[in-house]
Symmetry: C2
Subunit: 453 residues, 2 copies
């Protein structure tokens, strides 16, 4: 049994949904299909989810509810007409939207979530109807039937009983069409997952039915070894381990939402990233382990928007608890951090800049100076992290030297280096102005055909 | 005004003490002299401090107190005879020792400390007497006269009033001879400093009188850029900053006890390391800042005896507080750590192995698995840390690449790299079996005359 997930562009219009049907038909093992809301059909297009947010805002502010609602219905209607399916599904969607618009607005977040989630929910109903119309026996299944999630205010995740409930989908005679992105608390309140939420739903379903494979259909042939917007024609990745995928997701390998992998990771279920528009391409396989090839590096990612908090204090390393107290101060500001490279008398904390405000920086600086009696405390901004990832890097002597040389060849100064003992990743901190140049130099070093080590 | 400190080998016998007198005489600025207990005269010799520990144990266990006490007295008597000074000082020392042996034994630590500290105390009395006998007006000053330290159980340090009290030594007409290694609490209890305690006393005195220079006399011409036991004829360091000195002291640059620098560091008082046996050699200057020369690296140190605690957990970096909780568990075992290199889903904590026991490792592992629900937790042993230090490393592009290349040239695998944003040090974790080979390769890379970058 295979669980497939189709992303927004894969279900954006009739033509795409026909491709989905063909893909599902072509392998009888594909029994469960998780779907997103209709995404963009062309680059300037507006996603249904954004239309829904617009509608929600209009409803909250007494705006043009009728017109905005009609816009959403029209997107579905166009698909329904093109697919030549029964118009009753269109009425069902219009009525569903009207009910959601009339939903209690006391809790604004719940109201907006409820409308947003209709994008996936109604698309699943539509796609199930289409499948049936072409003789592919299918059934829309609502997350109400088992996808139980935790209560507020934590980040949404599926409770253990959700897996138990959803395991019954194994026995469903029809193909299950399941909307991504949301679940329900025990008391029946709708809650949405974080970004990439349909990936999470697919992953939960795959884990629940113990699928042999979780196929994630999107609009690229594979995961690339480096950002194709920066590196010219980077090689595609055929196989990658969960761990490599995670380390790369650090810095905007945006093809897959990393949190989504958790349920399948736990069971070791393989995942493939495939292209709805080119389903015969082998795609990228994400596996618990993989056979190593001659290339030590699997991928290189780069991300800007990092700040460093620098703290120095003479004899810092003699003070048991210094690092812990420092991290506690940061934690009390609800700030997460990435790395903490340290010398003997200094430590720096790498933080994503968007979490910082001038006020928070001032509070943190003041507390560290007063409570930890540090000599020197300051923030610096404008850093990028470059991450080199590969299971083959383990025990590969000389790799760090090659990477550092390639970076230095751009004239950039290495501000930070971090290599932990897992040795599948090597992180360099640099000033952001050289980020792209460094990424290209590293790609050249590790992927260019003439630079075999 | 200059404060000089003479270490154990510099005051081990009459010949050495004559050298001390000549050094003090040769510069009238040298007004305060801190002294150690007589050290080893030859490599198999026993230091007076060790004779005193032996005596203390005998006194506690009803052993041969008389014989052991006589051994200590004889060491001083031999010096007194050789220096041809008045025998009354010998009687003073013998009586002092007898009083200390009869001291209250209820608190064993206090009893032993009290006997140990007599080594410095009586040597200061002896040296003051000798100075006077050769016409160098001198005065023994006891730490009772101002060196106030904190109470138990904290590590001993001088209280702020100690600096205030001791500042009066500026006005002393005679040369002050002051015993190193100990002070007294407010209620008059003797407390000893940590290892290298005479260095600390000298540093406190220099800070108290706001000396223009703190001269630390020992038995080497200078601090070397690398361990001379491993690297053949390493270059000496002429100037080094406090910060560089600290980073190097990390891994057994044993010439100077790093904690001792604190009082002079705070006032920016320069320190020189000089050789009692070759006082005309320029020695090594430790300064707040220094002018950079063409060499980016000032020194390379290496130390074995490190372990790593490896912890991995899927989505670790999403969990605010994970690192802090991990460090708290380690702190609750009273274990200090050196570095915490991290990936996205893993972190390792570098710990000096001597702090670990199989039981502590088991407790820590169990707690991390249970309380932090980590996927994988284990300890590994047998690591060395190699530290490359230099103010000139800042903004020196290519340096990390050169260092990593040199290490790789030995065939060693780099297990960990840590470079913080202070950029005056670069730490590599390697397996200990290659430690010496790596140190030689790095020395060759950064100090060999032909390898100018």
């Amino acid at each position: 049994m295979i669980v497939c997930k189709f992303g927004g562009t894969s279900v954006a219009n009739a033509e795409q949904i026909r491709k989905v049907a063909n893909i599902v038909k072509s392998n009888p093992e594909r029994r469960i299909v998780a779907v997103s809301a209709p995404g963009k059909r062309f680059s300037d297009d507006i996603k249904v989810t954004d239309l829904l947010i617009d509608l929600a805002n209009a409803a909250l502010k007494n705006g043009d509810v009728e017109g905005k609602l009609q816009k959403v219905v029209n997107r579905y209607k166009e698909i329904i007409d093109d697919l030549e399916i029964d118009q009753t599904i269109c009425d069902i969607i219009a009525q569903d939207l009207q009910e959601r618009v009339n939903f209690d607005k006391a809790n604004v977040d719940l109201f907006v979530d409820n409308l947003k989630a209709s994008g996936e929910d109604n698309n699943a109903k539509l796609i199930a109807a289409y499948f049936n119309s072409i003789g592919l026996k299918a059934k829309y299944v609502s997350p109400k039937e088992g996808l139980v999630v935790n209560d507020f205010p934590e980040r949404t995740f599926a409770l253990p009983e959700a897996y138990e409930n959803l395991s019954k989908l194994r026995d469903c005679e029809e193909i299950v069409v399941f909307p991504g992105f949301f679940g329900y608390t025990k008391d029946g309140t709708l809650r949405t997952f974080d970004r990439g939420g349909s990936d999470i739903t697919g992953s939960i379903l795959a884990a629940a039915v113990k699928a042999v494979l979780y196929e994630n259909f999107t609009d690229v042939d594979c995961v690339f070894s480096a950002n194709p917007k920066v590196v010219n024609d980077p090689v595609g990745i055929k196989e990658i381990t969960y761990r490599e995928m995670r380390e790369l997701s650090y810095s905007g390998f945006s093809v897959f939402h990393d949190e989504a992998l958790m349920p399948v990771y736990k069971l070791g279920i393989p995942v493939t990233i495939k292209n709805t528009n080119n389903p015969s391409a082998p795609g990228t396989k994400i596996l618990p382990t993989r056979t190593l090839n001659s290339r030590p590096v699997t991928g290189i990612s780069a991300d800007s928007g990092f700040s460093t908090l620098y703290v120095s204090k003479y004899l810092m390393n003699r003070e048991i608890g210094f690092g812990r107290k420092l991290l506690q101060i940061i934690e009390e500001e609800h700030i997460s951090y990435e790395h903490t490279p340290s010398g003997l008398d200094d430590i720096s904390v790498i933080i994503r800049s968007h979490q910082l405000t001038p006020e928070a920086e001032e509070r943190i600086t003041k507390r560290i100076k007063e409570e930890l009696q540090a000599d020197d405390v300051y923030f610096r901004h404008g850093f990028s992290m470059i991450v080199i990832v590969g299971e083959g890097m383990r025990n590969n002597t000389g790799l760090a030297a090659r990477a550092a040389s390639a970076i230095s060849s751009t004239g950039a100064n290495i501000e930070m280096i971090n290599q932990g003992p897992s040795e599948v990743s090597l992180v360099f901190g640099v000033l952001s102005d050289k980020e792209n140049q460094i990424l290209r130099a590293l790609y050249e070093e590790f992927f260019s055909p003439i630079s075999v080590y």
